[in-house]
Symmetry: C2
Subunit: 377 residues, 2 copies
């Protein structure tokens, strides 16, 4: 759930290929239309169109005080309550639910799974509302975050209400997968909480006090868990076997890890014109992102230099940021992240082929996984 | 959920009768043993004994980071992780779930409803964790609140996890009432959020900007809703009709309102030896409690004096607190609260008699309702 900080990435058009470092997951079989991201963009548009009516109806069912904050957060209202054009995000998670249901159960399962897609989107936004309060992030999807507009208390309460709404929506669904879906989504919420805890706890520690293993575990809980859950819920709504549901969960988790690795690379070397945040933004706040921790724990001379640089707070010194970026690169952090992302995508493809052996049926999920990990570095 | 601020009230022994103002709800038929509170105390002890094993197992299922905060909050661990004797509260809500199930379905239904009782207790504690963060309350059940020990972020996350755990527990229950119970409890969470929002919003406004109607609505959402939901869930687990479930919900809500009215009276005139908080504590923080708002909106000369006094922040002036308490009393706030509490208890009894016509079967719920509203003023 970290990605939306790079908000401009979310709204830009078709992205370029990873020219400088080669494509991620080149060992995969490409599904139809996956190569250029057009299929993924169509799936995202369709997911947004399928989900929005029920999502808006769910928000409309809230008491007026909670509704107002939620409508603002989703970009459907301005702070003064007047209608806004809306930018509720890329709908990656709902698209994964629907593509997963379609892959295993066809259009009927996709239609039945819309409610599950709405629930996943509600949980994602509950976590964004709360994370922004905790992280004191002031911008989300190009707008002031809810807590900066309504205060901490209201942002916390609106998040609480969205979590309840998500689980309620699934519980009230007469679909036979309802109870299993609530259980799975609630488990995912607990994992998201543990991931956010690990993230905030790690950020408080020194550069030499964080292991790569725990950083990966944190990224899996914070980002992988909900992508995995989205895929698993789609499988549940398609009546998939427990084994296939687990494989879909693993597919989403691995793709989520690959995504986070690439997202972290962008946070260091990303082109600000493309990403909407300046190169080195993560370095300026001394974020212990995956490439940084890989570099710090590499045992290289550059790691020692990096630890020294990272131990001192940033003071508007762009040359220093370049020195840090170079140290991360020389310590192997960038290559490691690229290789690891490719590795995770390969694992994701393997899990996908287990759950959905037919490449034609797997095409949608494949193109979505490629889309979220295809980023310019 | 406001009551636990008067934390000493929760742990004191059998309470006295309302000698100075007469008993609340004197028009009711007394169930066996209800008069002296002994039956209620036995029911609370039994509820705690029935609920604790499953509650502890649910907490134990959390990831270690969330578990630690929850164990501290429930009083089962000290801040350093060593075991504590524990004071998880009076278990009023679990006792209402179990008594409600027993009233309509006997011992079998009571046994089946333990999980619902645990879920209600988890939701109650989720709301306490979050409310304490928002209200900056530093003490809960005689101990520093979780956010003062672990920080805001961890208290928010632990609350989030407890909400998820509560709804998950019900959803994973093979009992036929499972889905309806999740739906109802999730709706209650949304109502709790709206109630807490109203409370914080009202506290920010001036003394002449709050109506009695909205104060009552806030109290119903903040306190009545979860007591009502507890009773309703007990009914659902006993296989009660929709009509009876609604009557049980209304019983719990009305009793909850009566409880809040008495609690607010204690917050102004309460004996500090009995309540653990000094008389006038609510007045010192200029709390817009029910008797105060009733006084402020009474149209009496004392109301004008009260508004003037309440508009100025408290500055360690005990005589001023006495003047304010007197103004509330002269404006009729105290009498109104007493009469309204009696009225609400009468309504509660009426709803109870609809759902459980047999006075013998209704005895447990009756004694619990009496217990929570029998307070020394």
């Amino acid at each position: 759930m970290t990605e939306t900080r790079h908000s401009a990435v979310e709204t830009r058009g078709p992205t370029g290929t990873l020219e400088r470092h080669g494509p991620i997951g080149t060992q995969r079989d490409k599904g139809p239309g996956a190569a250029d991201g057009q299929e993924a963009e169509a799936l995202l548009r369709q997911a947004r169109a399928s989900v929005d009516p029920e999502l808006r109806a769910a928000i409309a069912s809230l008491p007026v005080s909670m509704r107002r904050i939620a409508l603002y957060h989703f970009g459907w209202e301005h702070a003064d309550g007047t209608p806004a054009e809306g930018n509720a995000g890329k709908a990656i998670r709902p698209a994964l639910v629907l593509a997963s249901a379609a892959a295993l159960g066809g259009t009927g399962a996709r239609a039945a799974a819309v409610r599950a897609a709405v629930a996943v989107e509600l949980v994602h936004n509950f976590s964004l509302l709360h994370d922004d309060v905790m992280d004191r992030d002031t911008t989300r999807r190009h707008r002031p975050t809810a807590w900066t507009v309504f205060g901490d208390a209201d942002a916390i309460l609106a998040g609480d209400a969205l979590q309840a709404l998500a689980l309620r929506l699934l519980a009230a669904d007469p679909h036979p997968a309802s109870a299993a879906a609530v259980t799975r989504l609630a488990d995912c919420v607990v994992e998201l909480c543990a991931g956010q805890h690990a993230d905030t706890a790690m950020e408080r520690r020194g550069p030499d006090e964080v292991t790569l293993e725990e950083t990966l575990a944190m990224a899996e809980a914070k980002t992988g868990a909900l992508l995995g859950c989205a895929c698993a819920l789609g499988g549940l709504y398609a009546g998939a076997t427990e084994e296939d549901v687990e494989a879909l969960d693993a597919f989403g988790r691995e793709a989520g890890l690959a995504f986070q690795l690439i997202d972290d690379v962008i946070g260091i070397w990303g082109d600000p014109c493309r990403t909407g945040k300046p190169a080195g933004a993560d370095l300026a706040v001394r974020k212990k992102s995956l490439p940084v921790v890989a570099a710090l724990t590499s045992g290289t001379p550059a790691a020692v230099e990096l630890a020294e640089l990272y131990g001192v707070p940033y003071e508007d010194d762009k040359e220093e940021l370049e020195r840090i970026a170079l140290a991360v690169e020389r310590a192997g952090g960038r290559d490691w992240a690229q290789a690891k992302a490719a590795d995770r995508m390969a694992r994701a493809m393997h899990e996908l082929s287990r759950a959905v052996p037919d490449p034609e049926a797997a095409g949608g999920l494949l193109s979505l996984a490629e889309f979220v990990t295809r980023r310019s570095t």
